[in-house]
């Protein structure tokens, strides 16, 4: 994505041309938006009605939580337990919001409306931008294209669930992890990020059988403070915590 721009596309002030930001944002918005099809199919296949499936995409609008909820309901879990797992998965969006509110410098009146678009993909695109202007463009273009397409493809997926039959046979269950991996890759800038990612992946897999799905992801997030703490210890005094290279 962002790494693909050539030197000639870079502006002297370190900013990016708006068209390049829009192209990167649409790349993410369209690709992930289309994967709403997989959600629509999965949700309808899990026994939710068409209206329930569409309500989830319109109102919850955070893919991992939606998949977690319908997966738990399909597995026969209680409604409250299923909702709790989905909620815990959604808690990570608060951390994206924490960074985005400063980066985008949103007014108080705009925040309730911008909030619904605070998800993995908009955060990844906005946080990868070099300037506030391009971060704002990235957030809005990714959010809008993703919201519209995600809801449209959810509807189509739910309608087509019976026509397509076994979605796993079409490899659609690999779309989710591939999306997460594509979002993660540009973040792995230094040894610290790679250590956090490696430890979190191990914790996520190791804890999967013993904790509810949403909870094991949250516990795996402890890899971040753990690696930071270990880094501070190794450096000795722990006073010099390095800032991001932004």
């Amino acid at each position: 994505m962002a790494e693909q721009r050539t030197l000639s596309e870079l502006r002297a002030d370190g900013g990016k041309p708006d068209a390049v930001v829009v192209r990167d944002a649409l790349g993410v918005g369209v690709a992930v938006g289309l994967s709403g099809f997989a959600f629509g199919v999965t949700s309808a296949g899990s026994g939710l009605t068409l209206v329930q499936t569409c309500a989830l995409s319109l109102l919850v609008f955070t893919g991992a939580s939606q998949f977690a909820l319908v997966g738990a309901l399909a597995a026969g879990g209680g409604a409250l337990t299923a909702a709790a797992g989905a909620f815990f998965l959604g808690v990570r969006n608060a951390f994206y919001g924490l960074r985005l509110s400063q980066l985008l410098s949103l007014t108080r009146a705009v925040r309730p409306f911008a909030a619904q678009w605070v998800i993995d993909e908009t955060a990844a695109v906005a946080l990868a931008q070099p300037t506030r202007r391009s971060a704002r463009i990235g957030f809005v273009v990714t959010g809008l294209s993703l919201y519209v397409l995600w809801n449209l493809t959810t509807l189509l997926g739910a309608l087509g669930a019976e026509a397509i039959g076994d979605t796993d046979a079409w490899g659609l269950d690999a779309a989710g992890p591939a999306v997460f991996l594509a979002l993660l890759a540009p973040m792995l800038k230094s040894a610290t990020e790679r250590a956090v990612a490696g430890l979190a992946a191990l914790l996520g897999l190791g804890l999967l059988p013993v904790l509810p799905a949403g909870v094991s992801v949250l516990v795996a997030a402890l890899a971040a403070p753990l690696v930071l703490w270990a880094e501070g210890r190794r450096r000795g005094d722990g006073t010099d915590v390095r800032e991001g290279e932004r």
Partner: protein, 102 residues
């Protein structure tokens, strides 16, 4: 609680945490340690989600065609392929491996 109840609770809860993140005062981020932690948390969460959705089947560990698909996505990422191609590689390879009985 009905399915509609689960939908409502999830929708309200997920919207609330999104909004809370945006409403926390910016001053909370001025400490370098907090900034660093906020930058690293998405790395940890995305890595854990990738691992679980690649090698997990519900609560159980699983090694199936998805591993080949996600490996193809990783290769596409190393080759700097566009986002859509990365996802398409995962889907096509996973479907292909399954079709061959993997």
């Amino acid at each position: 609680m009905s399915i509609w109840g689960a939908v409502a609770v999830t929708a309200l809860g997920c919207y609330a945490v999104k909004l809370v993140g945006l409403l926390v005062p910016a001053g909370a981020l001025e400490k370098p340690l907090v900034r660093r932690l906020a930058a690293l948390l998405p790395v940890a969460l995305l890595a854990a989600l990738t691992a679980q959705q690649t090698f997990g089947d519900g609560q159980a560990p699983a090694l199936d065609a998805r591993a080949a698909g996600v490996a193809a996505a990783a290769v596409a990422l190393v080759l700097r392929a566009p986002f859509l191609l990365v996802v398409a590689a995962a889907v096509v390879v996973t479907a292909g491996v399954r079709a061959m009985g993997g």
